[in-house]
């Protein structure tokens, strides 16, 4: 009898400890990254770090401008390319499609989101890069290797698309049927109902989804790395190579131990990513959570 109770107590305490540990891990990651990037903070002023694009690690000059700019540029292209088809598809699935179509389509979305990033990288290298280099860019610029902002944006767009679609479908279906019926009963068509009622009501959810997708795009490393060109100059056009933050970290981990300040700089990049993504994620999750609660 006693042994059972003892076991019970041990189990409870272990579980509570593990739960607390999980919260601590989050803080721990932030703290560790911050501590390791401290030298970079102290040796350079923050403005120079963030806004100049002088990247000469051997000289101890760390201007992250190119990388930040590349990250933003590539993410922007990705969202522009992914959002319209994603919301159209999500609206179609939630408002028009029959149950059979929906059942058929959900594995499609699942598969797209399950394909590992490295596979997207391979595919991008084999299809998108040559297409840009040979067919698309010649119309606009003199020369492009194909490894470019555009390639990164396209690959990233396909990667974040299933995320946007699946969350938006959840957001739209959370709207109670009665509101749709109220609008339809007044004589509105489906599209009018969507325009004036559904989108209006789901606006917070839509924004939260976009924010979530952006934070996913910010952090994507391998796929973008394989198609973006990894060139440290600021890209002048969409067809130029770029160098987003995650790619920076991934490419240089080998050398970082040998150059003073390099390791700290890369940790700074990781810390930047971490902070931005945590904030974006936190806010959008809160919004989405509240929407879900309202629908009950």
């Amino acid at each position: 009898m006693n042994l059972r109770l003892v076991k019970d107590k041990i189990a409870r305490n272990t579980m509570m400890g593990l739960s607390l540990f999980s919260i601590l891990v989050l803080l721990l990651i932030g703290v560790v990254l911050f501590v390791y990037s401290l030298p970079t903070f102290t040796d350079n002023n923050t403005f120079k770090l963030l806004f100049t694009s002088n990247w000469k690690p051997f000289k101890g000059e760390f201007g992250f401008g190119t990388f930040i700019y590349s990250t933003l540029y590539v993410t922007f292209i990705a969202i522009m390319l992914a959002f319209p088809p994603a919301i159209l598809c999500a609206l179609y699935m939630s408002e028009y499609a029959s149950a059979t179509v929906r059942r058929f389509f959900s594995p499609v979305i699942d598969l797209l989101s399950g394909i590992p990033p490295v596979i997207y990288g391979v595919w991008g290298t084999l299809t998108i890069v040559p297409y840009i280099s040979e067919k698309l860019a010649p119309h606009f610029v003199d020369f492009s290797t194909g490894y470019s902002v555009l390639a990164g944006g396209v690959v990233l767009a396909i990667m974040i698309l299933p995320l946007i679609v699946s969350i938006l479908i959840e957001v739209f279906t959370a709207i109670p049927a009665e509101i749709r019926e109220a609008s339809l009963s007044l004589g509105a068509t489906k599209w009018q109902t969507i325009k004036k009622v559904i989108i209006k009501k789901s606006l917070p959810g839509i924004i939260a989804t976009v924010v979530l997708a952006i934070s996913r795009a910010f952090g994507e490393t391998i796929a973008v790395l394989m198609v973006c060109g990894n060139f440290t100059d600021i890209p002048k056009s969409i067809f130029d190579a770029c160098y987003p933050l995650p790619a920076l970290i991934a490419n240089n981990y080998g050398e970082m131990m040998s150059i003073p300040g390099y390791e700290s700089a890369l940790m700074f990049a990781a810390f930047l990513l971490f902070i931005i993504i945590v904030i974006f994620n936190g806010i959008s999750r809160l919004i989405l959570y509240r929407i879900k609660k309202q629908s009950y």
């Binding site: 999980s22 990651i29 699942d110 990033p117 595919w123 991934a250 990781a270």
Partner: protein, 279 residues
Amino acid sequence: MKNLEERIIKALMVFASVTILMVLLYILYIIISKGLPSLTWDMVLKNPSGGFYLGKEGGILNAIIGSLMLIAGSVAISMCVSLPVVLYLNFIRKKDSRFSNVVRFAFDILFGIPSIVYGAFGFMVMIYFGLQASLLGGIIAVSLLIIPIMARSIDEVAGSVTQDMIEAPKSLGATKYETLKVIVRQISPGITTAILLSVGRGIGDAATVLFTAGYTDSIPVSPMQPAATLPLAIFFQLSSPIEEVQNRAYAAALILTIIILLLSFSTRYFGRKMSKSKL
């Protein structure tokens, strides 16, 4: 006029959806067509010889076994963390309590952290403890990555356990701990789904293992040795100037994709089993 707008939008919607489907099929087509010619028995059963980057002979057994070992270790560790935590949050604390929701929120954020950050963090932890790039390092990093994924997935099924199910063992005199054992059995298809999902995410991820697991031509015999993984096999060998090496990369890509497809279908199968057992 009303009608025209509606028809155009509807056509665009269908077009968007079909395009998405086409993109998926195109990706699968490319991967299969590039990888299939190179998928021989040799490829699957031999290690690369002559160095993975330049050696023409051999296959990718090192990566296949390496990945399997790594993900097995990570799943084991993650289960030890996520299952107890989720059980605690749902059945020992109240499902809706402040504590549970705070931990859930923390997990949600951890869920969204990109794998490169886990890789960098794992690397820092390894350096601190004096570990070299190794199987163990990779396991640590990937575990960090998949714990939130597993936790969220188990949390979803744990939420579906009814009050009666929890009270039945209690009224027979069982302790909380013993009740939990019964609950775990009840939600085991859901746990399987969680494992499958985590494997899917963890096995294909390159950024976590990039710094932490190293890379090698051979299969590790101890956790302290570096391990090759499928994603890195693709990444490192794709850019080789030698065609045979590139083919190894394509074969690895195909194998990885096949694994993911199998996992995806199994997940659906177990997911359906779970909802059937609920009723």
